[in-house]
């Protein structure tokens, strides 16, 4: 007589899947923060009649300590042109958007060399600003 072996079903425990997903998400959010410039501290200047900016190829920021950042990475102004040219490559004009986020208290000696570098690299400069509240 042949005795049938008992079959045990082995299922993967799915109870902790939510926790795993949550931790993975935190991990990727932190990783993404390293690449963007959301950690840069700056207050935008306010202007009326602004337009919605399109998607940028690069983002240059000058923070409240007047340091320059390219895509969230701090770098000296003299390296900005070379790095921007490498990022923009042969992209046709009109699609070479470079966002410029300047702290409103920055001075011409801080932002003019940056604007010059963006212009020299052939970037389509977009000043990122805050819409000015309407006064009645």
């Amino acid at each position: 007589m042949k005795i049938a072996r008992r079959r045990f079903t082995a299922s993967i425990p799915s109870f902790a899947m939510g926790d795993i997903g949550f931790l993975l998400l935190i991990f990727f959010v932190i990783l993404a923060r390293v690449q963007d410039d959301s950690h840069v501290q700056w207050d935008p200047a306010a202007l009326p009649d602004l337009e919605t900016a399109g998607a940028p190829m690069a983002s240059v920021a000058i923070d409240s300590a007047f340091k320059t950042y390219l895509n969230g990475e701090e770098l000296p102004n003299d390296q900005l042109l070379t790095r921007l040219e490498a990022i923009l490559g042969d992209t046709p004009a009109g699609a070479r958007n470079v966002f410029l986020k300047v702290h409103k208290e920055a001075r011409a000696r801080h932002f003019e060399p940056v604007i010059e570098a963006i212009g020299e690299a052939g970037g389509d400069l977009v000043h990122i600003l805050e819409p000015e509240p309407e006064t009645n």
């Binding site: 998400l25 966002f99 011409a108 003019e112 604007i115 010059e116 389509d124 977009v126």
Partner: protein, 140 residues
Amino acid sequence: MKLRRGKLLVDPPAASSSDIAFILIIFFLVCASVQPETGLSQTLPRTEAKEEKKDQSRNLEVSITPTSIVLNGSPLQLPRFRERLAEALARKSREADKVVVVKSAPDTAYDQWIRVSQAIDDAGGILTLELASERTITID
């Protein structure tokens, strides 16, 4: 005799808390990324070679300091500057003559600079920067 009813501890089900947190995070991430950024586009001419500067005497010149805006030697307030600039640019027909050369004092705040820049853009001018390193200082 009164019998005491046994009290049962009722815990809210916590098994799905992490799933709720996950969905909430997705929601806030999507909300944050959807916010559009507003700005001001600016076309910047590339640095001119020295021999191309012969037309520069015809261009309008704007000097910005922390306290004043000077258009071709006349200090103006921003509203008046807008009017005078629009009048001056309306008289120019060639695109090359609409270049407005902007010289900023090193201490000029971005807040003020961008307002002047917007005024030039609105008047149909082509903004060109003259940087401190390019200026010629003549000493007698």
